[in-house]
Symmetry: D3
């Protein structure tokens, strides 16, 4: 099971925007995680299977500072259990008034070989996270400790994140723009299609920057455009 290395590699070379279009063609309109952005936009694409963490609103008596002493606390356990190459996706109910996690946990995730972390809330220690070499996406910085608003509840159940449905094992891709969730069963075909679309978009971009009109070119309704694209692919070896 899981995504092939080939698909993973392809998804590391295409944009989130291109993937959303491939999903749109299949009737999936809500797979983009709304209103999150990367803390460290200079990194390569984030690609990995979703490993989820679900938060509910914190009840004060259940969330004193001492809870983290419990090694079985779901937040801490999730950090140690998230598989290498997986992306941790946190359902923070779009509430960025308190942190979803901080730099120490994100650093641990990075050291464990995980592929990235996403929350629809906010991270604390955001300047430190921005300097780590693991892609991290949030809504806005949130200094107050997690316990102020969030109680970690479940590990690896289906969740919502930024109004997108996320099932464990879905393929999560992030770039400098945002994050998209590809249903697991579609990952291979979306990867293949997105690579093709990217070749065409790269060709079109070159043509447009040379001064060509988009009419007939994008989409390629003019046979000349099809022809030119074929020549371009040959020349570029793509």
């Amino acid at each position: 099971m899981g995504m092939s290395n080939e698909a993973r590699e392809k998804l590391s070379r295409v944009s989130v925007a291109t993937i959303t279009t491939a999903l749109f063609k299949r009737g999936l309109r809500n797979q983009f995680i709304q209103d999150v952005h990367p803390l460290n936009p200079g990194l390569p694409n984030m690609v990995g299977e979703a490993f989820t963490l679900r938060y509910i609103p914190a009840r004060e008596d259940l969330n004193p500072i001492g809870v983290f002493k419990d090694r079985a606390h779901p937040q801490r356990r999730a950090i140690e259990e998230c598989p290498p190459d997986a992306v941790m996706v946190i359902d923070s109910r779009k509430d960025a008034r308190a942190a979803s996690a901080g730099s120490i946990l994100v650093a641990r995730l990075m050291k464990r070989g995980c592929a990235g972390i996403v929350t629809d809330g906010g991270f604390r220690d955001s300047p430190e996270i921005a300097r780590l070499a693991i892609p991290a996406y949030h809504q806005r910085p949130a200094s107050p400790t997690n316990l102020t608003r969030h109680q970690a509840l479940d590990i690896n159940v289906p969740i919502g994140c930024g109004d997108a449905p996320v099932f464990p094992g879905d393929i999560v891709v992030g770039d400098a723009e945002g994050v998209v969730v590809i249903p697991a069963h579609l990952a291979e075909e979306i990867a293949a299609e997105a690579i093709e679309m990217t070749a065409f978009e790269d060709f079109v971009t070159e043509e447009v920057l040379k001064g060509r009109s988009i009419l007939g070119l994008y989409p390629a309704t003019d046979p000349q455009a099809e022809h030119d694209f074929a020549a371009w692919r040959k020349a570029k070896g793509r």
Copy 2:
């Protein structure tokens, strides 16, 4: 286990506002379900143990109209499994763009003897629900079918509803104003305290309507107020 009949009876005679104050005294500030109101405000208090239903954002391919043909669909199953006297509480992620449920399901819940239903989203068929004799609370009407935005996922797990944490078995109380969630282990003492507070508030209200100042009376820092309250209780048998 579960709430005593005595506690249930007491909670049916106090206001949600009074209960929130008793919870506040214990450090619990977020047990009021924000931004929901009753469709049928003339009914007696809703009191029951929480039975929860969790929704995530709908993925289009998983939520065609045919899914309800599956008898194991969590939404339909929840309606048939919610225990009599319990309150169904739905985590709709505060999204009222599509329905959490409609009048047929709510009617079935009523016939099964359930105590009420709450969503932080919206109900469809709201005019019909408003005429049923089961308390129902939502944010605003939402005609589009459930599947448009929501996928029922889990039954009876801890959830958030209107920014309040809700654990299965918590005691849910609703009146014409709103809904509050009492942690299960506090139900008996909150019920007892709220009855006492209600007696005092009723006494104060009577005095105020007779023209008495609130200073010294509410709270009763003036010994005369304490004295008068004792006399009032005796006279009223409360």
Copy 3:
């Protein structure tokens, strides 16, 4: 052109919720006008072709109190030109800080035989409008005069209203719950289907109120349910 009398009559007897389900089956998920409600919920269904009015944000120098002296002012002209039996739908950009219209204009629309009025902003003179016998839907009351925030711009162009697309000639249906927009070319088939769905829902409601489980009944996956429904239709003549 336009809707048949038969379709109009059918649509006056079904709920907005039922219509949204029929549209959902055809892949249309955004035809419900979000976050509007009727000022006068006791009236019969509103059914009519959409006649639209588009507002943009008001520029102060173009919107002094004197503009209404111009008989060609689009707001006033729209009120006089909206065809009888049509529904005026106003794109107020979901901004209810100033009025979309007031009771005098709505009364004029009523006298001219129009079928209703909808704005995704607010009406002023809302208590007076609530007493008129023409269905009117808005977000919340808005006393400030239209000119404070809105400039009427266009008559009968495609618009957005409450996040739904509305094309002139689309069929607009409102009930005590809300408003839905049926694409013109689907009106006849949606009307026919909704009548059938309503018969089934009425049957199911009766059964549920008698104590029957929804499993196998709603949807009717149990052949007995199909059989009972057929018998019910015969008995009811529906």
Copy 4:
């Protein structure tokens, strides 16, 4: 100082919508208190001078339940000091997650002869307040005790309420639709103008309900309309 009895009487007979138009003519566009509505819409107009109360966010250590034992607590003091015939206006920072006040305080205000109460947050005990004979306006019900989110700070300073500026002594008018704030120095002239405008609007409404077009009538650009209005006033003695 203060408003004349004549102005008060006039303002009790005009609508908030009409007053906002008179203010608009003077360049005042933001005097309508946004997003509040009456709990008891059947009462006569609320008219009175503004007496203000300012809240800031509650700091937990300063707001234990015991603070109300202090007779000098600004919230309690405000209730006892608001002058008869004045309207208490509360700046709750548009935060309805906790109560601005409850039924006992509102009842006391009523007994003291105050003219009404307005908050841009919410009241608790809203069903009880809805039964009192004092106009009360809020955003939505809020059961949690005041101390949960609000600390009463200042009495009778200039505030914002629902995005409108409110200065102590301004004239506050409320009807079944909403609340408007008239700068103190304009009260007499606005009252006079609004009475005139109301006469004209009543005339227009009658004409429109008889079937007359609004073109030339509203506004009265047609000399016939002027003429008919003069005749109407004479006949009605207005």
Copy 5:
């Protein structure tokens, strides 16, 4: 018609903030496009006449992926028809859940010599757009293809953008802070006034950075300040 080269040049040397003050003096308070920011803040000012594009919510059946094959599709047509030196302004109803446009279209606009592009929604391919030498302003990145939420409808009609009214031919100015819309008939006088204001602000800034108090200086109520400013202008040749 249109703006003079002199005005264009002046507007390229003043800030959006200064322009909003000049507009405020003329009673125009809503000409700043709210909540948009530049993707490429290092570029010179954007100055150009508004060329508008209006979107409505997408209806699914009208917006399959194939629509762009139509050369007359308003979005694609707008990109080819926007005059050189003009600014394309898109009314996306403040909805950034799907893209208003992507990097290929923005690149084409750049190559055609247009002055910039503004949406109150979001762009896709935002990292690529950030590297183009054409000013682009949006609310936040939005990867999903345009068709997911938006249908391009009208070209060069008056629109709202970020709560500001925009008429075709208005002068649109953007800097590293934001975007302002100058009514066409005011462009020359605003340009002239803003240049003067900028000289004074530059003088004041220098003085303040030398340690001078703002009292009497800003505004220049102290005759010495007027005097010093005159000397400064002379010295600077401004």
Copy 6:
């Protein structure tokens, strides 16, 4: 009175996130100013006593451009009166549609030796402010002049800012992530505790970056972790 130099120095070396945790341990959950960020994130920590400025919504007749000619205007006076080393905190009611202040005033504050400036609204001239060496925090840029929406009212009264309570004299600390408000009486002990916590967090970060698990380490429930931390402190001299 006031904070010791030692506490100020300590607070300049710890993060806002760490301080929020120390406050959380004392039951203070709302001291983080929500949704503001630094314009100039590369500066050292901002630390100073709060000096507050309160705005209310602008009434048009009271806020013509000429008001700033009055040297006693609260906004201008505040800029000249804010004590050196203090942080000016502005209650802009979270409204960023018009500016809280601009670069000239912020520059003056810097020259006067003030420690920083915070608004829960927005600044104009934000690119210029971003180049000043005084920490400044806001929600988002806001070009329109202050008078468009805000009237400066009060100096140095308790206020709300970004949903946090701020009392004059409270200690305000800002870093590249955000701003926290420490109640004055807690400043010394929070500073001391935060320094200790920071040492431990630095130790943990080093260990985690070496590959160590967080279980037993963070928090240090494993005696080995305590031991290692003691050794680390010794080695580092902290």
